[in-house]
Subunit: 560 residues, 2 copies
């Protein structure tokens, strides 16, 4: 009954410190805007996550920990059926939402995973990351907030992806389980992705969120090293037999010491000056095609670039029915659909023609992006739990392609989390605001356009891992929508001195305006608009210094 997947073990994100010897004053200010800009605030479909919730926080922690443990066993015995066993992880009490410095001298450097709520959502299901030859971005992208660095010291920030174990995994669709499919045929070569803004001063790094948005995963070995400039090879996949290898990622803060060198194909230098922080919830499994439909749904629901697939197949029937009687419904339908459903609102605001199209066009629009759309936000219960949420995302899709994948195991990196910080995060003002998306789903439950949920899928939800999250309230700022998140009031959240400039320099001054869909604001200067990103970045979205006023999904773990 209780459907259990191989609980992916927590891998920690590591951070090394590696300082550039007095790079004089000339910071690489301008370069920042770079692709992998420090700033983001984007894709935090992420941030809009729902697990930041109040009293359940610590619980989530625990769930993750046990999760991690179970994996270790799995990996060791290789038994395909023993996956649900609960093991103890090598890590002490590794909070799922904290950064654990490894290998460095204490100090008080702290690394906070941004959007950890979303990471946890994925982690509960079993995070999958697609890899392609051309390189595929990670969806919850790695985004961290760093504090406690020496403002005047130069640092490299790097991230690597490390295999959790040496197993190959396989996802058995009919049982919705992970199974060990043997040993990986080759070890994953060490790959280090150095943040493009490196080196930069501690001040620069701390001023904004450090994002690895543009990092890509690939199974292309290329001509070995160096080339996958922005691409990391998480799994060799040399043999077609090895579709996916469980990998984990490390996030590093490296203080640059004279004479030291950082290479993308070498392991991060250990020792003093280098700290590694690991985030268990960032463990993922590389696949060439999604195995778990729940992952697919969550990706679609949260990744802005997959918006085209949202709600597909869910309330299609409902909408088709509406379409049938379109002539009668038109007035109310328009009001309800275009104005109340987020995402549609965006189109409406940016293209008025949308309203004036032919009926056929309108119908198309209705049918496509709205099929399966949960419904109207700002309505419905706020008490939805993780479980019920997954409920909806796990509706069966008969056209699932090929099912089989892997689960990662823990890589001991001595994590240590202080639940206190979690409490702090939970106490942020954002906690007051319910998550619009959750409301949507709730509405869906009410019958607007839900589909029947098979027992098998229900069972899938009751595995031991996610229970830690169950019952958590979902919280997010009022502007959060479809995974986009930013502070309730940009002016209040951002450092006031630079806001005006950022806003004016922005595209069409929409920043301070009321963005109908809530996407415009967050999208600015975040994704690929590298340079603009620097214009507000952390100033607009970040929370340098104190986390109290920050993003909804930021989870902080104080190490001091």
């Amino acid at each position: 009954m209780a459907e259990k997947r191989r609980s992916p073990c927590a891998l920690s994100v590591k951070a090394h410190a590696f300082s550039v010897e007095a790079l004089i004053g000339a910071e690489k200010r301008r370069r920042t805007a770079a692709e992998d800009a420090l700033s983001p605030g984007y894709e935090d479909g992420t941030d809009a996550s729902d697990l930041t919730g109040s009293p359940g926080g610590p619980r989530a922690d625990r769930a993750c920990t046990s999760d991690r443990g179970s994996e270790a066993e799995c990996a060791s015995d290789g038994s395909p059926e023993s996956e649900d066993a609960l093991l103890e992880s090598p890590q002490p009490a590794a909070a799922a939402l904290c950064a654990a410095p490894v290998g460095g001298t204490g100090e008080e450097t702290r690394v906070d995973l941004q959007g950890s709520d979303l990471w946890k959502r994925f982690h509960e299901i079993g995070t999958e990351m697609i890899i392609t030859k051309a390189g595929r971005r990670m969806f919850p992208a790695m985004r961290v907030k760093i504090t406690g660095l020496d403002p005047h010291q130069q640092y490299y920030i790097a991230m690597d992806i490390i295999p959790v174990d040496n197993k190959r995994y396989r996802y058995v669709y009919h049982s919705s389980k992970w199974m060990v499919a043997g040993n990986a045929d080759s070890p994953v070569p060490p790959r280090v992705y150095i943040h493009p803004d490196s080196p930069a001063s501690g001040e620069t790094w701390m001023r904004q969120v450090v994002s690895f948005d543009k990092l890509k995963l690939t199974n292309n070995e290329l001509d070995d090293q160096g080339h996958p400039e922005t691409i990391i090879c998480p799994s060799p996949l040399r043999s077609f037999f090895t579709p996916c290898t469980s990998t984990s990622r490390g996030f590093h803060v490296i203080r640059k010491e004279c004479g030291e060198e950082l290479s993308p194909v070498r392991a991060i230098p250990a020792g003093e000056g280098t700290r590694t922080f690991s985030f268990p919830e960032t463990v993922f499994t590389t696949v060439t095609a999604y195995q778990n439909q729940q992952i697919t749904r969550l990706k679609i629901d949260r990744n802005p670039f997959a918006k085209g697939f949202r709600d597909s197949g869910r309330n299609r029937m409902g909408l088709e029915a509406l379409v049938e009687s379109y002539a009668f419904w038109r007035p109310s339908l328009r009001t309800l659909t275009f104005e109340d459903i987020p995402g549609m609102a965006k189109q409406e605001s940016t293209n008025n023609e949308f309203y004036h199209n032919t009926d056929k066009e309108t119908v198309f629009k209705l049918d496509q992006p709205c099929q399966g759309r949960y419904s109207v936000p700002n309505k419905g219960s706020q008490e939805l739990t993780e479980g019920s949420e997954r409920h909806l995302t796990s509706s069966p899709r008969p056209h699932a392609p090929h099912l089989s994948r892997f689960a990662p195991s823990a890589r001991p990196t001595t994590p240590a989390a202080d639940p206190r910080t979690l409490s702090i995060a939970l106490a942020t003002p954002q906690s007051r605001f319910p998550l619009p998306e959750v409301r949507q789903r709730t509405r869906a439950k009410e019958g607007f356009c839900s589909l029947p949920l098979p027992a098998s899928q229900l069972g899938y939800l009751s595995n031991p891992t996610p229970q830690g999250y169950a019952g958590l309230r979902l919280h997010t700022p009022p502007y959060s929508l479809y995974g986009y998140t930013f502070p309730p009031s940009p002016r209040l959240a951002a450092s006031p001195d630079k806001m005006a400039a950022a806003a004016t320099a922005n595209h069409q001054s929409a920043f301070l305006g009321s963005s109908p869909s809530g996407t415009l604001t967050d999208s600015l200067g975040v994704l690929s608009g590298g340079q603009q990103g620097l214009l507000f970045d952390s100033r607009t979205l970040g929370l340098a210094g104190s986390q109290a006023g920050g993003g909804a999904s930021q989870v902080t773990a104080h190490m001091g």
Copy 2:
């Protein structure tokens, strides 16, 4: 009759050398991908230019030189009518296509302006650059190839924009001339745009084309300095009376010496270790709206982002006529319009639905993007000259808004060019291939959808300046289309070792394939796809070491 505009004086692009003291080995490899990635290969609508031609090369040089001289006079006397006078420039023989090191110790550092052909095209007319509050990119973007640096030395590459004089200018539409409108009310504060990849080793800089694609021009003072991260304020425009101030740009190569500092709001440090290279053809006038319709047309014709405006107003009548009898024309119209007209082809290939839309939709599509479209590519004469080309771009557009603008004057920076290198560039294999876009225009001349050309506009074309370019053959690689250019064979032009990786890492392997529209290939990893840019950059498009195999429009000037 001979319509003369104030010949804009040549400003040189400067390059300073400023080395980072042994930044150890850790290059900022990965950061490169950054927005302002070194790589481009993009927007070289640029490269697809047509002046690379054979025997006319040296002539162009001369034309530019005299051009520059004339400006100086203008600026000094302020007479609106003496603009066509030919003066001697402060620069010795300043080739329009070379880099002149200034203020540095000799060595043999060389800076070559990429896409100088296009720059010259604009320069002949009188380059205008739009400035907006949010910041506007320069269209021919600054892109240079640097050679002669110490591979192991760390350098900053910077660029600044300097006013040519202290005058305000005004464009008189009826006479199509530039007139001095008084003195600028305030000096332009020194602004330095440091390339985001700075600092980097000489090897890094020389390995690829250094692009300032993402640089933006703005008239927004913001809260003074620092903020316009990637934005340079070319003109104060403090008073609405000062719409535009002639400015010039400098390109700098700065060797980082310990203790030195580079600030965006300070002038570039002079002295040894700092070299400045100036390119006369990069002089431009900042405007808030285009004044000269020829500039508008050239921008539209060459800037991929303005493709939507291509041919607008030219063959509109022709298409409207077609639309009138749409019911009868439909079959042939579709064949002719969507498949033969570039730009439409793209849509067709990427969205088959396009073909299956309602008639109304189709008509709309026809009317909008096709208005004035020249016609079918790959047909027509290849012998089009500069003059005749401008012919077409200067067709009158009754709805021209506000006409008035400026012309810059020369800023003496001791340029010196060696025509030999130009010859080398002209001798590249690319010379064999005609430019697709030119064919289009030729077709237009044949009457497909051309408009009557008024005498006044014709006269505009016969000013003394462009004659140097007249008669040049237009050359471009076979893959060049709509201003996109890359070597005839990526494999051949790029360093073989890394090509395979670059190609495979590319998006959907379209790189080596036949891209229907010709845009996919070149667009990859260039514009904002920062990180990807590093994947092929110079390896794919550049010509590290020898210019012989390089891009079609590269013009090299050896200083040694």
